[in-house]
Symmetry: C2
Subunit: 418 residues, 2 copies
């Protein structure tokens, strides 16, 4: 069996028929230049199609049934996989679309957010052995009874990485509309660095902290199964970012990248009793309500009372407010408040493990800009600060200037992104 590579093309890469034909040409070139390798293609739905289908369902009924929504959503990737297979055939390749059932992507029954349980790669392997190029519909799987499921956000990336793991592929290439992973958002920083290599842990933090190029779940999969992963542009695939094991990093800059998130709100519960089980009750109730808690900070106690603050995704705002209204008396707390105008800015880098003084330098940089930190959170390889939203861009630029070295030849200027 020849070595296998998985190539995943996102919604923008298959955004119209011209782009689908472009993908087909790209795959044909790769096959011509690499006759000793087999290729598995994974495609997303054409850009905008999934949103269109979700809107259609919501326009049809108030609460679309998740199982039926999955049938509807699955059609997006089915269509693009069929059109891509046709285009590959037009390029002279033996191609064939595989849906979640044919690719044997077996998931649990958690519709609209299913988890892959197993992949039986035998059918794909058999087709690869004939020299064929399978085109797998991303984002979808099937339950044991044969119902379509979808994998939630970042689903097609997860399909690609999971297939690469199941087929013991030598690499998984994620084709998108940017030329890799940058040291900061080029829309915010005038000059950024395209990263040649980042390690899984950094990428996981970068992805979780706001870099939208890869979904954290797919990075987690790649890390867990040791799949070498690359991010590159369909439209200019000459450069790429490799996501590798930490040990494979040649250099370990202290700070790899600076990211930001604007999707969170800050919740403060005031007058909490310092003793007893108020704190554990609060976070148990939030967890039971499926609220994802990010940064938590606690004020110094005044007497037997303290304030507790935490950030949650803006989309769970209504749930959190409803829960707190009921919970305040049980907690013995006096009040709660919500601050929506926040930003979380993070600096990430495995080198931080080996360097002291990153935090103090970061605070000095922010202080020099007159930016007050509202919350602080650290891990071994990242430092996050919650600040007023209006200072977000200033903070990103200042931290990027202070921590990320731009080497000649690796820096790019704004305009490469859509």
């Amino acid at each position: 069996m020849k070595p296998i590579v998985v190539k995943k093309f996102g919604g923008t890469s298959v955004g119209d028929l011209g782009r689908i034909r472009n993908v087909a040409k790209l795959v044909r070139s790769f096959k011509e230049e690499n006759p000793d390798k087999e290729v598995v293609v994974v495609v997303s739905a054409m850009a905008g199609e999934t949103n269109r289908l979700v809107s259609l369902a919501r326009e049809c009924v108030k609460q679309p049934n998740p199982r039926e929504l999955d049938v509807l959503l699955a059609t997006g990737e089915l269509a693009s996989s069929a059109l891509t297979a046709m285009s590959l055939q037009e390029e002279g390749l033996s191609a064939r679309s595989f849906d979640g059932y044919l690719a044997r992507i077996n998931t649990d029954e958690h519709h609209t957010n299913a988890k892959i349980q197993s992949i039986d790669g035998e059918l794909l392997q058999r087709f690869l052995a004939t020299g064929g190029v399978p085109v797998v519909a991303g984002f979808q799987g099937v339950t044991p009874s044969g119902d379509f499921t979808t994998l939630g956000r970042g689903g097609s990336d997860i399909t690609a990485v999971a297939l690469a793991a199941a087929l013991s592929a030598e690499a998984c290439y994620i084709y998108t509309d940017v030329e890799g992973v940058y040291s900061a958002d080029p829309r915010v920083c005038r000059r950024v660095r395209r990263l040649d290599r980042v390690c899984h842990e950094e990428m996981f933090e970068l992805a979780s902290l706001g870099a939208k190029v890869l979904h954290p779940r797919s990075v987690y999969f790649a890390m867990r199964y040791g799949v070498p992963l690359a991010v590159l542009s369909t439209f200019n695939p000459t450069r790429k970012t490799w996501i590798v094991k930490e040990g494979e990093l040649m250099e370990k800059p202290v700070v790899t990248g600076v990211t930001y998130r604007l999707d969170d709100i800050k919740v403060t519960v005031s007058g909490m009793p310092t003793g007893g089980d108020a704190l554990s009750t609060l976070f148990t109730e939030l967890a039971d309500a499926d609220v994802f808690i990010d940064v938590i900070t606690q004020s110094e106690a005044v007497g037997e009372r303290m304030n507790i603050s935490f950030t949650v995704p803006e989309e769970s705002s209504d749930r959190v407010i409803a829960l707190l209204k009921n919970l305040l008396p049980r907690l013995g707390a006096s009040d709660y408040s919500i601050d929506r105008d926040i930003a979380k800015v993070s600096i990430v880098g495995v080198g931080m493990r080996y360097h002291a003084g990153v935090a103090s330098k970061a605070f000095a940089v922010l202080g020099a800009e007159g930016i007050a930190t509202r919350m602080i959170s650290t891990s071994e390889i990242k430092l996050s600060v919650v600040i007023d939203r209006k200072y977000c861009e200033v903070a990103v630029r200042a931290l990027h200037d202070a921590f990320v070295e731009l080497e000649p030849g690796t820096e790019i200027t704004v305009g490469a992104e859509k």
Copy 2:
């Protein structure tokens, strides 16, 4: 097990979200009024969707691969089945979409024109037993290896009738945008009769001869498996046409309906030798090229030479011309000609079996209008004439006036159709 009815809704009936909700209300009303019956719903793709997908494929590549085209086309009915199931749930019913795989509609591998080999109704039966309403995606099936197939023209009607047969349903209702089968096309005849009952044989002839309300293949299925079939309007389902066994017809009017086809061309091969195997060679070659031959007429021989004329669907025109060019020398024929400006007008009725003089009356009617017949073809229950296309409407009206009795209360006037 309660008696089952199958209700199939065509593309216009599920043409937009409002109409899909209308279908859901119609099914809920039926369930409320018939608590002793189970319903299986079959849906087409939303009106225009299949054509849109075919165009997309043709725009993408010159010759779409049939297997991939089927994956693409299958998405049309998948989407409408999911949206219809959601809408039924909104109406308080337990509904669930079934694709070709889940409904176990097993076909051969003849992509884009597959034939149903078997249906295993067990999964559907099990869901029906829970009081559920399955919504089956019409027009599609799966091959033994799990590839999507589509059933060709009239596919969703065939799905419905085949399911009705497999589930031993007591009836199959085809909901469309007309209130049944008419004695002639209301766009041509000012006053036509909606037929309360026609027999399978008549409907098969009517469908084959141009009445577009039902595809001949589905009528054939209903006839073969004895499925009682009704055609009615989604938008005013109070009246319908039953397609029944001939023995169940209460009255047998001589002529049930008048139809026409404009989709054929007339081919004439001149100077054919009268003896030898020229004739069999010609039609064997045409059959091998999958050309569907309809009416055949032969001129009187002059010496050892004769002319042979036949009609074929316009869409096979190119193939026929290419074939004849090669074949003329082998046949020993002198030339061929094509007449595209023809119409085939037919009168149909099982009563014709028991009545002489239908042909002579028809020729008299046409003669009185000054219309020359170019070809004539008869069967036990129909008479077809090929005439100049420009006289088509005049001929249909004259024959309808002469043969079809309009009883008070059953006649309708133009405007009921889209």
